[in-house]
């Protein structure tokens, strides 16, 4: 909650104050109405009152209604403004913070959770803030004013209204808290239903192929039946809310009438009787207003726990420290294109075992070094450590002779062209995607190297063609070539290819590698790969198994010395 209010600036505090004042006025005006009615009834009881005596009171009522409308519209205007601006700031802060995170934090939170926090949670907060002035001002103030006015007149009626308010609050809170566990079950079952439906649709071919119709129907029914039962349980109990509230809304009016009748009876003086009668009418109207106000506040407060969860989740992101920060090496770093790993170990946060264990090697300028090994051996993790997407747990990594942890991050990353394992593309044009770092315009050259030129230029809008969400309008191989074009459009001294040729057919793979070597004769190239053919000509091949280096050398050397390498090579060439 504290963080929410920290988003408010001085000017907006004025909005908040204006909104609160307007709502306070509304509360006051609400209670003024019965006063006028009371005065009018007093006059009406006297048969000799001329109509002209009533007109000013009636006009005052009209003015009161008009003022009520103005105050209402005004307060909505300012609360809407306030809630939207706070939501906007929270969104920006959360988003910016996530961008500042390192991959470690992103993985700890997980992407879906971060997304919910950045969007849905904040929308919830916005909705609650827009109700906040109503909750903190309107209902309590109406209640207090009514009690003050009433207690001057009659303690019994105050007591009646107060106790009914109490009963309503207890009833609603009891109903909601007793149903909350089941509501959570409904949410869980709905997720489950979604899951089963998703599996059904994504696996429709398998279901047909295995004639698994009954099996799938049973799985669906196993969720559908309890979901329906729980829904019936929750909703039928929830449906008690409206009738019970209606009952308690009208009951105090009747009690006030009955007690009023007895009190009037006990009085002797007829003018005192008349005064009490009008008071009774006022109390009757008040009871409606006050109970309504508290009913609204209770229904709003039910959402408070949910808000606290949402704001807690957003806070967690905003307050979470960023683990990878700029280093403080101040001198100029020569671009020598060397990489050195010194006894590097790496463990994913929360993982039991090291993903990389005591890795040491060095690469000099212009060399091509390849990493090969079974899936999950640690090749990708190793490449990720060089641009500091993750930090090594132990040991040192030197780029251009300087520890990567001492680099200014932007400087370090500007030296590196990186192609990730996943083909990540962004909505926008092809040009936007290739020229992603925004400082190079050599689109055609980059596309040519990446063997992407032909299919890009075959599109009607060429480089200005749209890339849809996630690159959905390109095939896997095309996406991969676009991500390669993105990396090579950057003039870097080091290029990292993380399993980046896997979706290419072998002919394209070969052409691409040739173009790369011709274009970047001085660049240092690191390749993680599965296919021997991709790396057969590398200056050095490092074989990794279970996070450790088990072989190092050229293809022909490794064919002699490294059993794992031989095994991989054999399995791929079929030359047993």
């Amino acid at each position: 909650m504290k963080n929410i209010f920290r988003q408010i600036k001085a000017r907006e505090y004025i909005w908040l104050v204006i909104a609160l004042v307007l709502i306070a006025c509304q509360a006051r005006l609400d209670l003024l109405f019965p006063e006028y009615i009371k005065n009018i009834t007093l006059l009406l009881q006297n048969n000799n009152t001329p109509f002209s005596a009533i007109v000013p009171l009636c006009l005052a009522m009209l003015a009161c209604a008009g003022a009520n409308l103005l105050c209402g519209v005004g307060s909505v205007y300012f609360t809407a403004k306030l809630a939207s601006i706070i939501a906007k700031r929270l969104r920006t802060r959360t988003f910016d913070k996530v961008i500042d995170f390192s991959l470690k934090e992103v993985n700890e939170f997980t992407v879906p959770s971060l997304l919910t926090r950045c969007t849905l949670d904040i929308t919830q907060i916005q909705m609650f803030i827009s109700m906040l002035p109503m909750i903190i001002i309107r209902a309590p103030l109406t209640g207090i004013l009514a009690v003050i006015n009433l207690s001057k007149q009659n303690y019994i009626w105050t007591g009646v209204i107060a106790s009914i308010v109490l009963i309503i609050i207890i009833f609603v809170i009891f109903l909601i808290t007793s149903l909350t566990p089941r509501m959570k079950i409904v949410n869980k079952l709905t997720d489950k239903l979604n899951q089963v439906s998703f599996e059904h649709i994504s696996g429709i071919r398998v279901i047909h192929a295995y004639n698994a119709y009954d099996y799938q129907a049973k799985r669906f029914n196993d969720v559908n039946a309890p979901l329906t039962d729980t829904n019936i349980y929750v909703n039928s109990r929830m449906s008690a809310m409206y009738p019970v509230l209606t009952f308690f809304q009208s009951i105090p009016g009747i009690i006030i009438y009955v007690t009023g009748a007895y009190m009037i009876m006990s009085l002797a003086d007829s003018s005192a009787k008349l005064a009490l009668f009008s008071d009774m009418l006022v109390a009757f109207f008040y009871s409606g207003i006050v109970i309504n106000a508290f009913m609204i506040i209770t229904l709003m407060l039910i959402q408070l726990p949910r808000l606290l969860v949402c704001s807690g989740r957003v806070n967690e992101v905003i307050n979470s420290p960023v683990s990878i920060q700029d280093g403080n090496y101040s001198g100029e770093i020569a671009k020598s294109g060397t990489i050195e790993f010194n006894h590097v170990s790496f463990k994913y946060p929360g993982a039991g075992a090291n993903s990389l264990d005591d890795i040491s090697f060095s690469v000099s300028r212009g060399q091509t070094v390849a990493f090969i090994g079974p899936t999950g051996c640690g090749k990708s993790s190793l490449l990720n450590l060089i641009p500091r997407l993750y930090d090594a747990s132990e040991g040192r990594i030197l780029v251009d002779g300087v520890d990567v942890k001492d680099f200014n991050l932007a400087d370090l990353r500007s030296r590196i062209g990186y192609v990730p394992q996943k083909n990540i593309l962004f909505t926008g044009t092809i040009a936007d995607n290739i020229n992603f770092s925004g400082n190079n315009n050599n689109l055609e050259r980059a596309s040519e190297i990446a063997q992407a030129k032909d299919f890009i230029e075959a599109r009607p809008d060429s480089y200005n063609s749209q890339v849809e969400h996630g690159g959905g309008n390109f095939s896997g191989g095309q996406r991969q070539r676009l991500t390669i074009a993105r990396a090579v459009s950057k003039s870097a001294e080091i290029y990292l290819f993380d399993d980046s040729f896997s979706a290419l057919d072998l002919v394209t793979d070969k052409k691409l590698r040739q173009a790369l070597r011709e274009e970047f004769q001085d660049a240092t190239i690191l390749i993680a790969a599965q296919r021997i053919s991709t790396i057969i000509n590398a200056d050095k091949i490092i074989v990794i198994d279970k996070g450790r280096i088990v072989g190092e050398g050229t293809h022909s050397e490794l064919m002699q010395s490294c059993p794992l390498y031989q095994e991989i090579a054999k399995s791929q060439t079929g030359q047993d």
Partner: protein, 583 residues
């Protein structure tokens, strides 16, 4: 609209008794709310007359007692009819969900190619929820509101014509103001939803592409992009929140103005000694005007709920009424005694997923029982398509496919699928135990069977390492690699033990070492069966009896490995490029 209501009604028919009773209860319940202001009027007048004369307290108590009974009875009846409606609408929702789920198995696969998974899913969950809620909350509300509206109007007219007109006209004016505003606010809401979606997908892309943004020093640009979208969203959410927020003060003011008019007119009537107009009438009319405007709000709310509910109903029935796969009614030659050989013959097959876009032009091949056939070729050549056609996932544009000499379009799909074990390109597992995922729909599988398959598929070691062995649930938390999941799909085909086998890139996610381990198992599995293997890694298919090289939807070369290499065509090109000598 009427068409849709008729469809919904036809599904509610089985519950018509319950619905009828609940509507009756609702009507009785509403009588209480209509009578209440009358009683209040009587009490007010009774007390008022007690000011100048002695109070008739028994009469006051009698009316008050009646009021309490009516209130309690009305509430109770409303509660009971609510419960009945909850049952009816939830059960209808359940039945619709079951029906849609079963429907998914009967619509052509092309339906799924052209639609997003999320869209179909939302019909099963969100749309049905919306419809069910609309039914629960509105079915009785609309009926009772209309009844109350009519009864209240009659009583008011009976009590005093002028006051009745004043009340009704004011309520209607304010309702129309609100309706006007609601119409005006619609575009803001649509825009807000759109911008929210935009900001959402921006964030999704940015978070998923986090590593790329970092590696390319793109943080500032992406932040600026988000800020721009966020600014737009702010403006539109502020406006839509404002426009929707002012409805409430307007309705409140409407109520107050109605009260003012009632007071003003009654005062005039009382002072001019109009017949039958008392303070009680004033109080009663104020209550009626509240009830009246509340019912109008109910009805207008119902109409605004109705639109999304109808849109949802439309989407639900659209899916339910999709044309189904043509299934032959009287399958020929389904003689179970015939031994299945597994001969497959493609004869001049012509096919396209989209009408007018032919991908397979003229595909012919004759495969003898027990042969191992490899299909190779560049991406998009139509390899998987051929297997989809053999499974009858799609119907041919032209040509025939024969299974053991029988045209497959005369065999029922279920029977055809029984003959063929498929390991599809996309790895598919569901949230369930490893055991359930492997056995899946196969019947009568013993533990021994399962263990054999685990061993043969190379899964036994990694399954043992799982926390609960074969009973480990496959989900996001349990860390099964995609390779392991792919092995599960292979094991699933192994356990099905069918005469024909299709392996569509079945080892693409398995590293080469593991692939080698299961290759022998696969070879064993394929022995004696007709098998189709689609593979990128040509090394795995060298020993195939027949290699079909596909390009642009046709077979361009066919033969054994050695024959094709000697031909020096596309196959030789592909094969040699795996071992390109110049990096």
């Amino acid at each position: 609209m009427l068409r849709l209501i008729a469809k919904i009604y036809s599904r509610l028919k089985i519950y018509s008794a319950k619905i009828f009773i609940s509507l009756i209860l609702a009507l009785i319940g509403t009588i209480a709310s209509i009578v209440l202001p009358q009683l209040v009027k009587l009490i007010t007048d009774e007390i008022a007359s007690g000011i100048s004369k002695p109070m008739n307290i028994n009469q006051v108590l009698y009316y008050s007692g009646l009021a309490v009974i009516f209130l309690a009875g009305g509430s109770l009846l409303t509660f009971i009819q609510n419960i009945m409606l909850v049952h009816v609408s939830q059960l209808m929702g359940r039945d619709l969900r079951t029906e849609i789920n079963a429907k998914l198995d009967r619509i052509p696969l092309s339906y799924f190619d052209t639609r997003q998974t999320g869209d179909i899913m939302s019909r099963i969950t969100t749309d049905i929820d919306i419809m069910v809620n609309a039914l629960t909350n509105n079915l009785s509300a609309i009926v009772t509101s209309i009844v109350v509206l009519i009864c209240a109007s009659c009583i008011m007219l009976y009590m005093n014509v002028i006051l009745a007109l004043v009340t009704v006209i004011t309520s209607i004016i304010f309702l129309n103001i609100n309706k006007f505003l609601m119409g005006r606010s619609q575009p803001y809401f649509i825009k807000q939803q759109m911008l929210l979606g935009k900001v959402n997908s921006l964030a999704e892309e940015a978070f998923n592409g986090h590593s790329v943004i970092k590696a390319f020093n793109n943080e500032d640009r992406i932040k600026a992009l988000f800020e721009a979208g966020n600014d737009e969203l702010y403006e539109s959410s502020r406006l839509s929140q404002f426009v929707s927020g002012i409805m409430q003060p307007i309705m409140t003011a409407g109520g107050l103005i109605a009260q003012f008019l009632i007071v003003f007119v009654t005062s005039n009537l009382i002072l001019s000694k109009s017949e039958g107009v008392t303070l009680g009438v004033m109080v009663a009319f104020m209550t009626y005007s509240n009830i009246f405007s509340q019912m109008l709000i109910n009805i207008s709310q119902f109409i605004s709920f109705l639109q999304p509910a109808m849109a949802s109903a439309e989407r639900i029935f659209e899916l339910l009424e999709e044309p189904e796969i043509s299934e032959i009614t009287s399958p020929e030659k389904e003689n179970n005694n015939n031994k299945i050989m597994g001969d497959v013959k493609f004869s001049h097959v012509k096919f396209g997923y989209v009408p007018g876009q032919i991908i397979i032009h003229d595909f012919s091949a004759d495969i003898k029982s027990g042969q191992k056939v490899a299909i190779v070729g560049p991406t998009g050549a139509g390899k998987s398509t051929m297997m989809n056609l053999l499974m009858r996932f799609y119907d041919l544009n032209d040509g025939k496919i024969y299974f053991d000499g029988v045209d497959i379009s005369t065999i029922s799909r279920e029977r055809l699928h029984d003959f063929i074990g498929l390991v599809p390109q996309d790895i598919w597992t569901f949230e369930g135990s490893v055991k359930d995922n492997i056995i899946y729909s196969s019947k009568n599988i013993s533990d021994q069977n399962l263990n054999d398959v685990l061993k043969a598929s190379g899964l036994d070691y990694s399954v043992k390492a799982l926390p609960e062995g074969v009973d480990t649930i496959i989900n996001d938390i349990s860390s099964l690699s995609s390779g392991q999941k792919q092995l599960i799909t292979i094991a699933r085909a192994m356990i099905k033990n069918s005469p024909v086998l299709i392996l569509d890139e079945a080892t693409s996610n398995v590293d080469t070492r593991t692939e080698k381990i299961i290759q022998s198992a696969l070879d064993n599995l394929m022995k004696g069966r007709t098998s189709f293997v689609i593979a990128h890694r040509l090394s795995t298919i060298k020993n195939a009896d027949l290699i079909l090289v596909m390009n642009n939807g046709d077979v361009c070369e066919a033969g054994t490995h050695d024959e094709l290499l000697a031909k020096n065509g596309l196959y030789a090109d592909l094969y040699n490029s795996q071992f390109a000598q110049n990096f």
